[in-house]
Amino acid sequence: MFNKILIANRGEIALRIIRSCKELGIKTVAINSEADADSLHVTFADEAVCIGPPASKDSYLKIPALISAAQVTGADAIHPGYGFLAENASFSEICAESNIKFIGPSPQMIRSMGDKAFAKDTMRKNGVPVIPGSDGLIPDISEGKKIAEEIGYPVIIKASAGGGGKGMRIVWTDEEFEKAFQTAQTEAEASFGNPEVYLEKYIENPRHVEIQVLGDMFGNVYHYGERDCSVQRRHQKLIEESPSPALDIQLRNKMGEAAVLGAKSVNYEGAGTIEFLLDKNKNFYFMEMNTRIQVEHPVTEMVYDVDLIRQQIIVAAKRKVETKPQKPNGHSIEFRINAEDPSKNFRPSPGKITSLHFPGGFGVRIDSHIYQSYSIPPYYDSLIAKLIVWGKNREHAISRGIRALEEFTVEGIKTTIPFHLQVLQDSRFLSGNFDTSFLDKFEFKE
């Protein structure tokens, strides 16, 4: 087992990782930029090293500073958390070269799953349903048009090196194809330095349903059910839940088995998530694989009684996955609390928290790094807390969520707590019958 782990992250996830390390008796090293000197993860780690000025590129993204910090503190492993360098193949490689265990996948794994066209192709070859589309990159417009006709419009042109909605164009008719192809390529070149694109059937208003997997070096791969993350604003998830209201036992088994098949086909080790799109007819299609722990992992933990971070560490220490999946128990919902003003188009609201009260009680979990009189630095993302509730069923989880959100008090800054309370009164959300277009039609009332 590792002696000491350096957590290459900040905020709530750094604290989350420190907690699992402590339970395993592993010493912890926090790293922080100058802006995070008063952060909670710094307080609770055994050691802390300041690695740079506030800007992420000079601190949390600065590989030499992170490796150096691990070396001077004698850390034998690094946990990258999520975001930052969690899916950076170079970082994984440099850790290996520096004899530090990267708690995540190998550089080859990150590269292959990060190449979206390649990942899709790998899954397809292994029998995982994928969105119908081009077999790899589209060489030119006429080839593209041919494939589009075969698949059937609407189609979406996507950048192979892309993400975040860039280098994408939805095409509804044959006439629009040429123009859309050219602009997608130009945008892809500008955003990622790579104009290569591929084609997919465009699935209107899908649900976003992802499967959590865990694999170890002995070839064991398990799935821990699904998370429905369809409540998204500009492709950013705001509310996630497990199980998904759209899945029954048969569909869960089918999707779970497909995810395990996909993960096994690449000999996946560690925690990973296979993202699927679910269409109106409950057909599911592989979208992409995330080779890291995800923000919304707690809802899976609540329903499947598994500490996913702990399992990541154990697997990285060359042991078998400890907790095999059981039947899901109850229903869990996570609300991402951001320091944003929902009445002003979710404008960021950094500043000092003058008064804070976390909700508590049965079935309420808070993953957060904030405290009373903490000043939220303006340099990083706006996530300040995750409120996770558990209930015997979805209705119970929702009513508990309302109770907890009403109790949750944050003063001095604006938060999205009022937004979540309004969503929990929306009839479409309550019915469980919604998709990724839900928030497009949702209006926040001041």
Binding site: T43, E47, C50, P64, A69, Q372
Partner: protein, 154 residues
């Protein structure tokens, strides 16, 4: 011996960021030293895990007032580490230190090495002056912006 002067000097050291003070006047030498507490300033409720926190130093200039008759104050210049790494006083284990307390340095004089990822980074002075204090022991780890030397600019 002017007891009042000595009392005033003790108070100055006690209430300021100065940790060492030495003055000589009319054949009388007075040296006052204050123990540095390596504790991180925490603004939230106190918890007490066994913390080994690498020392933080403030980025403000350290002011050293010499005596109560109002003679000019000497403002120290801080040399800080630009990277995380290990601090070395000399280019090699058996070599002489780059600088000692009392040495005169110029802009560009190499003061020390901070080693990071097997690369030896030479840290140069950005002022000319005299080395007043070396704040880190040879071979100890340093973090970003940690103060390494105090130089009295000339």
């Amino acid at each position: 011996m002017d007891l009042n002067l000595i009392k005033k000097l003790v108070r100055i050291v006690d209430t300021s960021g100065v940790t060492d003070l030495e003055i000589e006047e009319n054949g009388l030498k007075v040296k006052i030293a204050k123990k540095i507490r390596n504790s991180q300033i925490i603004t939230q409720p106190q918890f007490a895990p066994q913390s080994i926190v690498l020392p933080h130093t403030s980025s403000e200039k350290v002011e050293e007032t010499v005596n109560s008759t109002g003679e000019s104050a000497a403002v120290m210049h801080e040399i800080k580490s630009p990277i995380v790494g290990t601090f070395y006083r000399a280019p090699a284990p058996d070599a002489d230190s780059y600088v000692q307390v009392g040495d005169d340095v110029a802009v560009g004089t190499v003061l020390c090495i901070v080693e990071a990822m097997k690369l030896m980074n030479e840290i140069e002075s950005d002022v000319s002056g005299k080395i007043v204090k070396v704040l880190v022991e040879n071979g100890k780890p340093v973090e970003y912006n940690q103060t390494l030397f105090l130089i009295q600019p000339s």
